[in-house]
């Protein structure tokens, strides 16, 4: 039978621990869960194919946040991340990451992933952040996925590729009971009963529309459509600080990193059209992005990554990394435009908005054991709320989640869910396939994301937000009443756009709730332009209560690592003082 033809079917399987999303955090979570209890069944469910899925599908050039003895301490790292996030951080989880990540580096090394060492055999860590030194290059970074896959096979993890999870199911008393998924090539539905579930479904990368207008030309892997956020929301889990958007400085049009973390340690820097530096530090933060934005508007733009002043050999070395891993088509792109780094700077621009804790601080709320607010439900990686996670955070917190989830599964039996919930979800999923006539998902998605750009992108204006929410509500009605899917592939896109719409609503709701400005460009509200520590030095938690989207405040946990008063605003001082 032809691929993509719709099959109406439903089956059910069960396992002890279900991991959803096989990108970065997911494989590590599955592996650790299985190693914790080798007799248990661990299923790794993936929308794409674990071999090449997620942000690291082509590997990575380095670790952005390695806390390596001799270079940095867990205390120092925790302090830096706290300051970079305007103080709104539960330090326990960050501190735990900082303590554990070195062990994970050693483990990755034992999988065959190499990290750069100097002639003395010490790790050659580079400085990119404002205060500390945490960036560690990976000389064979293109092999990360292969190395992980080998470990998964060896541990006999059950991998289910091409299944998109759509909703979680719970018992009457609120415990996790499993997940519902759809085969992306046949539309057959699969219910997976599980004692514990770990969400590792990456960022919400298809929220804003890239300025190129190409819907899949996103910063994030475009398979990451925010399904995890939508699923957590509908399961009643709390989501933290969603108003703290992800916005990144990227190669204009190409929309991938340039990448200052690779080139910076060699002497490259961000400059304006006059060739002058205007920011102190290239580490991505909301405060840095605000200065970037200001520069673009000031008439001194465009903004460039400058490397033409470097020695040609150095540039070749940078190229050999940039054009091999992470986003290897960078070279092809520059070649197509006739840009040679030796004579021309790289034009930079601002990305579309998204949710991603990997680079900012929002996500499904988790504690330092990766537990969400739903018993038995865990989250790790870009979609969980531990800030500035990056790749090593995904691995480290995925590991924490895997171990704790298996402990939970060992101590609980399956929770019972209501069959009516599955029937209802089946109706929702299949609805676009039952209509004869209507609007295809690509048009609903384009319009939704265009509205996100027009109305939700910072600077955030209350009146614009109110109008944007009205327009989104109208589009939602079209989506729910009129969207059609004529084959299984279109159904995949139709389901994704429903996640995107939920994320857009959450982005709007969370942004209106926090009545102050914080995190530089990420949450700049023109009607409340100042930071208001008296009223808003807190997390915001968004959740579904009695069927309605609700936001509330949550106090920041007492710090483990104290921050002195004169350190608190170090990241606010990004702009280089006028010198000449």
């Amino acid at each position: 039978m032809a691929l993509d033809q719709i099959v109406d079917g439903l089956s059910e399987v069960s396992c002890d621990v279900l991991v959803i999303g096989g990108g970065t955090a997911g494989p590590m979570a599955a592996l650790k869960a299985k190693l914790k209890n080798p007799k248990a069944n661990v299923v790794l469910l993936e929308k794409a194919n674990v071999k090449r899925s997620g942000a690291i599908s082509m590997g990575m050039d380095g670790l952005n946040n390695a806390v390596i003895p001799g270079y940095a301490t867990p205390e120092q790292y925790t302090k830096e991340i706290t300051i970079a996030n305007d103080g709104i951080v539960d330090q326990k989880a960050v501190y735990k990451y900082a303590q554990n990540c070195y062990k994970i580096i050693e483990e990755l090394d034992s999988f065959g992933i190499r990290f750069l060492k100097n002639e003395n055999g010490d790790y050659a860590v580079k400085k990119v952040h404002h205060i500390g030194t945490y960036v560690l290059p990976m000389p064979n970074g293109e092999t990360v996925k292969k190395a992980l896959y080998r470990q998964l096979r060896r541990a006999r993890i059950l991998i289910s590729n091409r299944y998109m999870a759509t909703r979680l199911v719970k018992s009457a008393d609120g415990r996790i009971a499993g997940a519902i998924s759809v085969n992306t090539r046949t539309a057959e539905m699969l219910v997976i009963k599980a004692k514990a579930v770990i969400l590792c479904m990456g960022a919400a990368g298809r929220l804003g529309l890239p300025t190129s207008g190409y819907m899949f030309g996103t910063y994030e892997n475009a398979a990451n459509s925010g399904d995890g956020y939508a699923m957590a929301y509908h399961a009643g889990a709390a989501l933290a600080n969603l108003e703290c958007f992800q916005i990144n400085p990227l190669i204009k049009d190409y929309n991938g990193p340039a990448c200052a973390y690779v080139a910076g340690p060699f002497g490259a820097y961000t400059a304006n059209n006059e060739g002058s530096r205007f920011i102190e530090c290239d580490y991505w933060s909301g405060q840095m992005m605000l200065e970037f934005y200001n520069e673009l508007l000031s008439g001194k733009g465009p903004v460039f990554l400058q490397l033409k002043h470097l020695h040609p050999d150095t540039i070749s070395e940078i190229e050999s990394t940039l054009h091999k891993v992470e986003r290897p088509t960078r070279g092809l792109f520059q070649q197509g435009r006739g840009v040679d780094y030796r004579s021309e700077s790289i034009e930079m621009h601002i990305s579309e908005i998204g949710f991603c804790s990997g680079h900012s601080a929002s996500g499904v709320f988790v504690d330092d054991n990766a537990r969400t607010t739903v018993p038995g439900l865990y989250a790790a990686g870009d979609m969980a709320s531990v800030p500035h996670n990056y790749m090593l955070g995904a691995f480290t917190n995925g590991s924490v989640a895997g171990i704790d989830a298996m402990e939970f599964a060992d101590n609980h039996d399956f929770a019972e869910f209501d069959a009516a919930d599955v029937a209802m979800e089946r109706d929702r999923v299949m609805a676009p396939t039952k209509r004869e006539d209507g609007i295809p998902p690509n048009q609903i998605e384009y319009k939704t994301r265009r509205l996100v750009n027009d109305y939700l992108q910072p600077p955030k204006v209350t009146r614009k937000y109110e109008l944007g929410m009205r327009r989104l509500a109208e589009t939602r009605e079209d989506m729910q009443e009129r969207m059609i899917a004529r084959n299984a592939h279109e159904l995949l896109r139709a389901l994704e756009v429903q996640s995107i719409m939920d994320c857009a609503d959450m982005a709007a709701h969370a942004s209106l709730y926090r009545e102050e400005s914080r995190w530089g460009l990420y949450h700049w509200r023109t009607d409340f332009p100042e930071k208001d520590n008296e009223n808003w030095f807190c997390h915001t938690l968004l959740s579904k209560q009695d069927g309605r989207m609700t936001s509330e405040k949550r106090a920041v946990e007492p710090y483990v690592v104290p921050i002195a008063d004169d350190e608190k605003d170090l990241y606010d001082k990004q702009r280089i003082r006028a010198s000449a």
Partner: protein, 77 residues
């Protein structure tokens, strides 16, 4: 409302002479994160069925015969 089909020049090109899908290979179709490649019923060769590409490269990197070329999608080229 009736639907129209929309013309688009796709970024990923397969060299039919090199592609061995007719001998059972499906590697590029298997690895693509966006699931946009298919084997044609007519030619038994791989091709890009949907213009929804992250220009990420697994299809080209993993093809055993070097049949796949990833180009930058026209809108951002």
């Amino acid at each position: 409302m009736p639907l129209a089909s929309y013309q688009t020049s796709v970024p990923v090109v397969v060299d039919d002479a090199k592609c061995i899908a007719d001998k059972g290979c499906t590697v590029c179709v298997d690895v693509c994160p966006l699931d946009v490649l298919r084997i044609s019923d007519m030619t038994n060769k791989a091709y890009m069925a949907y213009d929804e590409c992250w220009y990420c490269m697994p299809c080209e990197a993993d093809c055993p015969t070097g049949a796949v070329t990833v180009n930058i999608p026209y809108l951002l080229r």
